[in-house]
Structure formats: C-alpha cells, structure tokens
C-alpha cells in the first residue's frame, strides 16, 4: 500500500471515570453502566458489547444506584437525592424527582417490575409505584437509624432485605415493618473495626439472605429465624458488590482488592440432592475496587474504580466458541473524543469539562519502516477551553481548516471562531446560537469548512452555513415520521455533496446536501453501526458494524492493491485482502489521514491510566 509517516500521539491525557453501578436487563440483554461523573452508558450485549447509548454526566449527579424496571425503563438514584428516569429513545432525562430522604444509596425494583424501592441517607426505605409515565410515592417503611446501603426484594415480593451499617433488616412489604434485624459481626480478623457496612444484600427465594460487608465477609442468613447460617471470609478488605443469577444457582461478589469471586450452588456429594454454596472461582481482572457486579445468564460482569468494564463469560454456559466466549475488557467510550484539522495539523481533544487544542510537530527527515524520525518541531499545546457549568461535554469538533471549534452540552451549544496570527491564537465565541442545537449528539464540519452539521437528540439533523464570524441556519432534516431515534454518527463526502447519518438501529440515511433532501436509506443490519465514512473520488459509503465480521473476500468493492509479487504464496494469500494490519500500537482512540502519506494516531496506553488512579490496595500474591 505504501509508506506512511505516522504521528504517534500519546499526550491525550484522558482518564475515564470509574464505574459505580452496573445493571443488567435480561429481556433486552442490555447492560446499563453508571460512572462516578454521572455518565450512564448502555451496552448491547447481543451486539458484541457495543456501547450504543450514553447519557452525559453532571457534576452534581453522582449515581449510587441504577436499576431496570418493567418495559425496559431505566432509573437511577444519586447523592443529590433525586430519582431519575432516562428516556432511552430520545437519550435525555425524562424527569428527576426528589425522594426527600437525603442522598440515595440504594435502589431495587420489585420482582414484578412495577414498584421501586429507594434506600436513603436518613435511614428511610421509600416505596414508589411505577406509573406508565412517572413514579408515584406510596409510603415509607420503618425508619432505620442509619443509611440504607443495599436493598433486595424477595422473589415473591412479600419481603425485602435492607443492608445498613452494622445490621441487616428484613421488612414485611405489606406492613412496612421490620420483622428481623440481623446484627453483623464487626470483628475483622479478630480486630474490632469501627463499623461494618453492609455493601450488598441478595434475597433468595428459599429465604436465604446473602450479605457482603466491609469486613470482607460473605454471609448467609436465614431470614425466617434471623440467624447466621454460614460465613465466608473472602477478603482482607471490603466486599463491595453482589449479584445473583436468575436461577439462583450462582452469584458473584466483588472486593476492594480487585478480586471477583464466583460462588455456585453445588451438590455436597455427587448424586446427592443436597446442595451447598461453594466459592468456586476467583478472578483478578481489576487492580482497584470492584464497585459493581452483574450476573447475566452467560457471564459475570464487573466494574470499578480502575474504569474497566470486565465481562467474563462462564465457559460452562457458552455453547459456541466465538467472540462471546472471550474475556472482554472495555475501557474506552465507543464514540469519538478527538477531531482533527488536516489543513493546520491540529488535534482537538475532548475531556469531560474542557477541550484541548494541540498542534502536531513536524520533521524533514525520511527513513525506512519502523524508524523514529528526528523532530524539527515538537507538538504544541495551543489552547485549553474550559466549559462553564456542571454539565459534561457531549461532543465536539474542529473544522478541517482549523478556524472553527464547536461543542455541545445538554443545555447549550457553543461555536468558536479561531484566528491565527503567526504564533498567536485568538478565540471568539459566536453568540446567540439557536436553542434547538443544544444537546447535540454529533457535530461535523464540511470538508471546506463552510457548513456545520449537527445531529440533535430529537432525531433531527440541522445544517448551518458558516460565514466569517456569524452563521445562518440553512435547513433541518426532520426524522422520518414515527421515529424519534437520534442520530449519533455522521459522515460527509469530501466533495461536500453527500451526508450520511446513522442511529443505533434504523439503518443509514444518505442526504443530498445540494438539493437538501433524503437521497436513500441503507437497510438496517442486525448489528448497530459503529463507524461511517465516505471514500473520496468514488463516493463509496463504508459502514462498520459492531459484529466485527470476518474480512471481506477478494471480490469486495474496496480498493485492493496488488500484493507484493516477490513474496511467498503464504504471505501473498494472507495479504490478498483490502485490510492491512499493524499491531504495534497501544489502544487507539483516533486515526486519520492528514494527507496522502501522513497518518495521525492517538494512543492511550492502559498503564498510563492506571498510573493516574489512586494506588490500589496492596495485596501480597503469596499471602502469609
């Protein structure tokens, strides 16, 4: 294919937020993940764990609890005391409602999915009725003396278990009164800790309550008698999370030491019907606290402070050895955080609350494959643009000419004009942006930087003409009637005539920009679209889907250069397809062509992320 100069950029100092909660929905096979900055992400486990939706974070909205209710409705509760319902179609917050109990620490939806329980800082457990369009407060349970950190319904819906500090309460749902109080031993390896925090409870249908606590214990309680049945001391630190499988034959717990333990209900002896909970497998995929775990029918899912979402398939449950059978570690968001100005060799980095503009360096030297060329000019940090307000940035873009920067938060849309005078840069904000542009999901400039395309969360697509220092609203493509699916991917043809836009499931629409009308729609595929591009010259639309299907064969339409003729047959066959693979890079967040022979690649080594996290709990591998 040829020789490229590759700008390898490792100064994008991006650190994802730690994972706080995960909630698995069995019906849709989707996983909701909330992070410490308030971001909520939706992963489609059927679509190769693709992160298909996300709700931007908010400084004051730390989520502490996340759960799914009937009809695939998603709720969260957080330290600001609000219960929030998310609109998964429009990708915005449907409503937020104060529970009036102080910070919310825990949440649980009843087995039938129509009632919502929240556990609050003031020791109250509040029951809400889930109505079709809202939730309605029903009543308080007996108030406890300290915060309710964990909640679990009995599968019959008649009782609940609530974990607090130093004790677990069992409530009768009908009367709302506590029927049992199970004190948890504060002792930890013989030393009395100040408090024992019940981080998680799980209520099984046989009446067993499983609790995990800050003293490193997993305990089994008989809720009928209120007595401790079994105790497993599994960690020297907190056990912070628990999730039980639907069949109640297996559960998973996560510890502050980064270990995830799998417990299974196995027969005491072979052929015996008597079963016992046994700690079967420990997994060490995390370096830091495992704050949240989930149990899908085929996998154990865990996430925590080290920001990875780990999906560990249960080999005995996996039938076909395919991608689903492999361990998955998801660290980065499945969306673009970087944009590039080709003309000026600029990179715009998007962080939660600021943007950074960098100019790439240059070299005059040449070399052969693998050489590192001496720099005649190093990369420059040109600009640090901080947002106002508590909201996270949803998306951002720099124009190919480098004169425009646009970004959006939930409530506002910002457009800046950049002026370059020698080494000085001046920034000028374009005022009075129309309100309909806010909460944009994707922003794109045309190749000649005269047009701005904005995909809003309502499904509409706005086209803005950019003038020197001002703008003009040109057109809005309204979503097809009946759909409200928002577009999250945009691609413009280099000649500026064609715009491709895609949502998560409904196929790719191609618009004719000259005539401002919908040109065609590429039929929807089983798997969501993860990336879009229109090839120069040919105007071929290339679509990547999340299923990562095998490489196309020789008959593909894609340009397939002649393989080197002086190589052996094996190598020729291996390189006969259009895709050339290089494995020398660390995780790549961005890759683009600056010109015919120059590439820019933004890498983010995982070690650099880990280095920025607080030090993990030191644990001896060979304990004494």
């Amino acid at each position: 294919m040829g020789e490229f100069k590759v700008h390898r950029v490792r100064f994008f100092n991006y650190v994802p937020s730690g994972i706080r909660c995960v909630a698995y929905n069995n019906q849709s096979n989707r996983l909701a993940v909330s992070r410490t900055d308030g971001t909520v992400e939706i992963y489609n486990l059927s679509a190769n764990y693709f992160q298909e939706k996300f709700f931007p974070g908010h400084e004051s909205r730390a989520t502490e609890a996340l759960c799914w209710a009937k009809g695939q409705r998603l709720f969260s509760g957080g330290l600001n005391g609000e219960i929030i319902e998310y609109d998964l179609q429009a990708l915005n917050i449907k409503y937020a409602m104060d529970a009036f109990g102080g910070p919310i620490w825990s949440m649980a939806v009843s087995p039938c999915g129509s009632q919502l329980l929240v556990g609050c800082e003031d020791g109250s457990v509040k029951l809400f009725q889930i109505t079709p369009d809202k939730i309605q407060f029903e009543r308080n349970f007996d108030r406890q003396k300290s915060r309710i950190l964990s909640l679990s319904w009995h599968p019959s819906g008649t009782h609940i278990a609530a974990g607090s500090i130093d004790y677990i309460s069992v409530f009768d749902v009908k009367s709302g009164s506590a029927v049992h109080k199970m004190l948890v031993d504060r002792q930890y390896m013989g030393v009395s800790k100040r408090k024992c925090i019940i981080w998680g409870v799980a209520f099984l249908s046989d009446g067993t309550v499983i609790s995990v606590d800050s003293a490193g214990k997993v305990q089994f309680w008989d809720s009928a008698t209120g007595t401790l049945v079994k105790n497993h001391l599994i960690a020297n630190a907190d056990v912070q999370s628990i999730a039980v499988s639907d069949q109640e034959d297996s559960f998973v717990v996560g510890t502050a030491e980064g270990t995830v333990f799998h417990f299974q209900l196995v027969s005491v002896t072979s052929n015996s019907s008597e079963k016992q909970w046994v700690r079967t497998k420990p997994f060490q995929h995390h370096t830091h606290d495992v704050r949240a775990v989930a149990h899908s029918p085929t996998a154990l899912i865990s996430g925590g402070t080290d920001t990875h979402l780990v999906i560990r398939p249960l080999m005995e449950k996996v039938e076909v050895k395919n991608y689903d059978a492999a361990l998955r570690k998801i660290t980065f968001p499945h969306r673009r955080l970087i944009s590039c100005s080709k003309k000026r060799h600029l990179l715009l980095f998007q962080f939660a609350h600021h943007l950074e503009l960098w100019r790439l360096g240059s070299t005059v030297a040449t070399g052969k494959n693998g050489d590192t060329l001496p720099l005649s000019k190093d990369a420059d940090h040109l600009l640090h643009l901080k947002t106002k307000g508590p909201e996270n940035i949803i998306c951002s873009c720099i124009s190919p000419c480098g004169s425009w920067i646009a970004y959006s938060t939930t409530s506002r849309f910002f457009l800046y004009r950049l002026n370059y005078e020698h080494d000085n840069i001046s920034l000028q904000r374009v005022s009075k942006m129309p309100a309909f542009l806010r909460s944009a999901l994707q922003i794109l400039f045309s190749e000649d930087s005269t047009k701005l395309f904005v995909a809003s969360n309502q499904g509409s697509l706005h086209i803005i003409r950019l003038l020197e220092g001002s703008f003009k609203h040109l057109h809005t493509f309204q979503p097809q009637s009946g759909t409200v699916e928002s577009m999250c991917l945009l691609a413009i043809s280099p000649d500026g005539n064609w715009l491709a836009a895609s949502g998560t499931s409904a196929g790719v629409h191609v618009y004719n920009i000259k005539h401002l009308k919908l040109h065609c729609t590429v039929p929807a595929y089983n798997f969501p679209v993860t990336a879009l591009a229109i090839a120069p010259n040919t105007n071929n639309l290339v679509i990547a889907h999340s299923d990562q299907q095998p490489l196309p064969n020789d008959k593909t339409l894609l340009y397939n250069p002649l393989p080197p003729t002086n190589e052996s047959d094996v190598i020729r066959r291996r390189t006969a397809h259009a895709f050339k693979i290089s494995k020398i890079y660390k995780p790549l967040l961005f890759m683009d062509l600056l010109d015919e022979r120059t590439l820019v690649a933004v890498e983010r080594p995982l070690d650099d992320i880990i280095a920025q996290l607080p030090p993990p709990i030191k644990k001896k591998k060979f304990g004494t």
Binding site: F4, T366, N369, L373, K580, F622
Partner: protein, 684 residues
C-alpha cells in the same frame, strides 16, 4: 470442672489428733450413712447430710479396736475387729458391743473389706485372705502365712471386676514394695515387685488405685512430692512368677517434697485425684484436686489446723481430719464432654461395673463375658464359635416363636429366661435379631410396643445402631425419650440424622410430659437448682434470633449497651429443666461428625435456637481445653513446623515477585517511548 463445696464438721466430739485419732470411715448399706471408727474404742454411725450421729458403739475398757468397722452389704450388719483377732458382728438395734456375736480367729487381721456385690473379705496380717462366711463357719481354722519375714502390709483395697472381687495389697520389706493381687474368680494370688525406676531414693508415702477392666492403676505419692502411676494386670500371664512392674511419673510435685506427715492421695474418678498435704514447704496443709489428664490443679482448700494424712472418698464426699474434727468436704465434678472434638470417648464413672466399649470392636464384643484374655483360650473360643453360630441355643428358638404370637408379658418372661443362659460368642447378633424380630412385629402391629423387653435388651450393652436399625426410629415415633436416652448412651454408631431427630424431639417435648417420664439423671445430678424458664414467644423484631424487645430505634443505643450483660445472664442460667438437660447431655455425649450433623441442624425450629446457642457455648468451652491435652502436643508441634515452612516459602515467593516486578518496570521503561513521535510505517 471439679469443685469443692463448703466444708462441714461431722463430729462434735474432738478426736485424738493424728493418725491414731481416726481409724477409718466406711460406707454403710444406706446412702448418706457412714461408719466412723475412732482410734480406741468407739464406732459411730453418722448421717452425713444431717451431720448427726445415728448410733454409737464402744468396746469394753481394756479392749482396743484395731481395724475400722465395715458394713456387710449383704446382711446390713456391722463388723469390727478388736484386739487384732476378735470379730464383733452387730446391727443397729444392738446397744452393747459386749453382748453381740463374737468370733475369735487364729491369726491377726489386717483389714476387713466390704463392698457392694460381694461378701466381706478378711485380709490377715500374714497376707492370707478369707471370705467372711467361710471364716465364721470355722473361726479357728488355720490361716496360712503368705508374706515372708519382716514383710508388712502397708495399704490395701478391693475392687469389683466383672462381678468378682479383686483384692490388692501392698507390702514393704527393707524399703522394697510388693503388690499382691488376689482374684477370687480364679483364686489366684500374683505378686509383683514395684520397681521404683529412677527415683530410688524417694520413699512411698501413700497409695491409691483405680481399676480399668484389665488393669489396676496403682498411684503412689512419694516423698519427693510426685505422684507415680503403675499399671498392674489383674490377670497375670504367669501367676507363679514374681513379676516386676515399673512406675511412671503422673503428676509432678503436688505436695512439698519434705512433707513428713499429713500427705494422702485418693482417686476421685477417671481424670481426677485428691491430694492432701502442704503444696509448698512452708505452707499450711491443703486439700487439692488435680486433673491428671491435663496436669492441672483444679481447685484446692486450705486446712489451717492441720490434718492427719488420711483421706477417704465415698460418693460425693471427701472425709478427712481437720485439726481434731472429722471434716466432710463435698466434691463435685461437672460432667464435661469433649464430644465434638474427640468423638465418643465415654468412660464409665465408677470402677468395678461393666464398661461399654467405646467403639464397635467386634473382637472384644465376641469375647465379651468370657473374662479371658488368654490368647490360647481365645483361639479356642473362635473355634467353638464356628460351631455355635450354626446352632443357636434352644432358648433363642423358643423366644423367637414367642415373639411372633404371644403377649408382651410372655415375651418378657421368655426373654428373662434367655438372658439368664450363659452368653455365647455371637450373643450380640442374637440380641440384634431379637430386637429386629420385636420391631418387625411392631411395624405390622402398631399397638405392640414391647418397651420393657427392648429396654432390657439395650441394657445388655452389646447392641449398636447397625445391629438393630429401626429401633430408634420406633422410639422416636413413640416419643419414648427414656429409651432414646439409653440408646444414645449405649450405641456408638448413631447416624447424625437420627441424633438430630432426637435433639429435635428433646427440645420440643413439653416440660409436663418430661415430668412424667423416667429419665436417668446421672449426668446432671449436680444441677441442684433447676431454673424453670419458659421460652418467650417470638415477638416483633428479632436480633440474630434473639428478641431484643426493640420497639423503636431511639432505644437502640441503650439496648446495645445492655447487650453484654444480657448475654452473661443468658449463659449463667441454664434455660432447660434438669430432665431435659439430661437428655441433651446424652446427645452431647454421642458421637457425631460435624459435616454430617450440620445439614440436619438447620432443620431445628427457631424457638429452640436459644438452647442451641447455650449448648454451643458449652462446647466451645470444651474445645479450648482440647489443645492442652498431652496427646495433642505432637500434632500441634508438627502443625507448627508445617506452618513455619509455609511461611518461609511464601516469603521467598514474595521476594521473587518483587524482583520480577522491578524487572518488568525496567522493561517497560525501555518500551515506553515519549509522548510524541513521528515514525515510519510501511504497509503492504
């Protein structure tokens, strides 16, 4: 835990101080009544609990009592010896000793022994032994001389072994000690030389002995203050040969080494001995209870006014002189079982009675009742057994046919007949068959429940659970707690599920119905003040199964502060009535393994959990004691060594790991290029 209770003085009349003041204390045929023989002329019968004399007899002026008075348990008469050769026999109605039956013998008497189950035995100073009846039939018969010149009897005791008396006496000659064992079943007298071992210089001051089926365990207190133990076989291999037995150290320095007088030793039970004497050279004399198993001092009582070196132990009372008065100190040792830790290790409490084999040992079961340990003879038994197995005794056939059709009364009569017949080697299987036969009829005919017969069969001590499966189930069904208790005590192989079912029954049976049933209370005999507390019914909020009486959260803190106190009260008072406690004790004594028991324990209903917790506390207390057993020492030592090597390995592994990490870091630094570079990449 062994404990001494408040002492009291028996006689108001001061006795002569020293060993001459008191000749002996002996049991009478009525409980709580003891014969006290004063050195001199008087014998007094005391009722101990009332501290009151019931009768007093004296010999004439000029005569002197030379041997403590004893009671003939077969006739209820009293026997005393005065002037070495004259026997006097009387009963409580007699007033004047001068007018009662008198027999003058031809040789001097050392001691008359009288114990339950046999006629009194007379030991002469020359070593000969005679039964009283034979002696009275011909008082002037010639008494042979057994001992050599200058050999004198120092101490003697008699035991019942397999229903036959065995008499032991120790003699001394020129500083050497000899033990003589006289058995009456085989009429053999065997002699042993007590070999002192390394402690040649010490002088033996006092003896005591206990019996354990085949051996007499002779304990001696030496002048160096240590207690030594010597095992002497009851049935010697070669009775004619003079054999040597070696003594071994049992307890070190229980009394001061230089104590001249006032030291005494007596066995209390399997694991406990009482020692009289000054614990330190300068200290006052003390009565101390030592646990020989754990080598620990259990309790001690100071006797500031001095004592005489005489100590008697009967039932639950220790008798000794304190100053000039005869003092009684009740002694009790709570039954503590290491059931959970050691499995079943039940010991019969009183020597001389039948002991139950601890484990099912088929070899001993077969030989049971033959009383022969001779290997040649046992071979003969085996040969004979082959014949006998095939030909069951006719009484058995008779019994089986009776069981099939006759009434319970008839069966009992037949059974008595059967049991009276001499036991065959396969006696236990026959008994098992009988039980199965009875149970078989019980299942077909539910009203038929031959309780008495079954109880009688269980008490043959040869049954086990596997020999008669279904027996305990039937008893459970009938809520026959008495039989269950007996089974738990006797059977070494009860499955855990049955143990648990028994436990459940024992816990759930009402106090009223317990009151009506007859239960063996031996194991809780010292529980004098039963606390009859009814368990509270379950109320609103329970904390870990306990009722915390919590109405609202405001009182939580207060409640929490009170909790330790409550827990203490919980443990000090037993929440069950003594009868239930006796049943629970039977459970605790039975053998079980935790792994199999736990699943069944889960089924115990909630209202019984308090009792369970209480039992757990009791067991925990016992567990802590286990590590102190000398037998555990080796295990602990090897365990310690193992752990130490493990720690060693782990620390080395940790060092290796750190080195690897450093290497990895170096490696990374090499790979870690700068934040920005321009490289050439060729794709083709």
């Amino acid at each position: 835990m062994a404990a001494l209770e408040e002492e009291f003085t028996l006689s108001t009349v001061p006795l002569g101080a020293g060993p001459n003041g008191l000749l002996g204390v002996e049991q009478s045929d009525k409980t709580d009544q003891f014969l006290v023989t004063h050195g001199g002329r008087t014998v007094i019968l005391y009722k101990v609990s009332d501290q009151k004399p019931l009768g007093s007899w004296s010999v004439k002026q000029g005569q002197i009592i030379t041997c403590p008075a004893v009671c003939n348990f077969q006739t209820g008469e009293f026997i005393v010896v005065h002037d070495n050769k004259v026997l006097r026999i009387w009963n409580t109605e007699d007033v004047n000793l001068d007018k009662v039956f008198k027999a003058t013998l031809s040789a001097e008497i050392y001691r008359i022994h009288s114990i339950q189950g046999t006629e009194p035995l007379v030991l002469f100073k020359e070593g000969a032994v005679r039964g009283l009846e034979a002696l009275l039939a011909e008082p002037q018969q010639k008494i042979e001389t057994v001992l050599s010149d200058d050999e004198v009897i120092k101490w003697t005791k008699v035991f019942m072994v397999f229903r036959h008396p065995v008499l032991i006496f120790i003699t001394e000659k020129h500083g050497n000690h000899f033990a003589y064992i006289q058995t009456f079943s085989s009429r053999t007298l065997s002699k042993y030389t007590l070999f002192h071992g390394q402690e040649e210089k010490s002088v033996i001051q006092n003896f005591t002995a206990s019996v354990d089926r085949k051996f007499i365990s002779l304990m001696s207190l030496s002048s160096d203050g240590c207690v030594y133990e010597t095992s002497i076989p009851i049935h010697p291999r070669d009775p004619d040969e003079n054999q040597r037995v070696v003594r071994s150290l049992l307890l070190k320095t229980v009394v001061a080494g230089n104590a001249r007088s006032g030291v005494a030793l007596t066995v209390l039970d399997q694991d406990h001995v009482a020692v009289l004497g000054p614990p330190l050279p300068a200290s006052k004399e003390c009565l101390s209870i030592w646990n020989t198993k754990f080598q620990t001092l259990q309790t001690s009582r100071e006797l500031p006014q001095g004592t005489s070196g005489q100590l008697w132990y009967f039932g639950e009372n220790l008798f000794m002189l304190h100053g000039k008065f005869l003092t009684v100190i009740p002694y009790k040792c709570e039954v503590s079982s290491l059931a959970g830790a050691l499995g079943k290790l039940k010991h019969s409490q009183d020597p001389g009675t039948h002991t139950v084999p601890h484990f099912v040992n088929w070899e001993t079961s077969r030989g049971y009742g033959f009383g022969s340990q001779n290997s040649e003879q046992s071979k003969r038994i085996l040969r004979r057994r082959k014949i006998e197995v095939n030909v069951p005794p006719p009484a058995f056939e008779q019994l089986l046919s009776t069981i099939k059709k006759d009434s319970e009364k008839d069966i009992e009569v037949e059974l008595c007949k059967f049991l009276a017949v001499k036991r065959t080697p396969d006696f236990h299987t026959i008994v098992g068959d009988i039980v199965l036969e009875l149970l078989g009829r019980h299942t077909t005919e539910p009203s038929f429940y031959p309780r008495n017969s079954l109880m009688q069969l269980i008490q043959t001590h040869v049954l086990s659970y596997s020999l008669c499966p279904g027996l305990m189930e039937a008893a459970l069904e009938k809520t026959d707690v008495q039989m269950l208790q007996l089974c738990l005590q006797q059977f070494p192989d009860i499955p855990e599920s049955i143990t648990c079912a028994c436990l459940k029954l024992f816990l759930s049976i009402s106090d009223d119905s317990l009151q009506e049933t007859e239960i063996n209370m031996e194991s809780v005999s010292d529980c004098s003040d039963p606390v009859q507390e009814k368990m509270d019914e379950q109320t609103e909020i329970l904390q870990n199964g306990f009722n915390a009486d919590e109405q609202n959260c405001d009182s939580c803190d207060r409640k929490l502060n009170q909790k330790p106190q409550d827990a203490a009260e919980e443990t000090t008072s037993c929440p069950v009535v003594p009868k239930r406690a006796a049943l629970l004790n039977a459970i605790l004594h039975s053998a079980y393994s935790e792994m199999f028991l736990l699943p069944h324990l889960k089924d115990i209903p909630a209202q019984h959990v308090t009792i369970m917790d209480w039992i757990c506390l009791l067991l925990d207390a016992n567990f802590t004691v286990v590590v102190m057993i000398p037998e555990a020492k080796r295990l602990l030592l090897s365990l310690y060594k193992f752990v130490k090597s493990q720690i060693c390995i782990c620390s080395e592994l940790n060092k290796i790991e750190v080195s690897f990490r450093e290497l990895q870091k170096l490696n990374q630094e090499k790979n870690n290029r700068e934040l920005y570079s321009i490289e050439v990449l060729e794709l083709f």
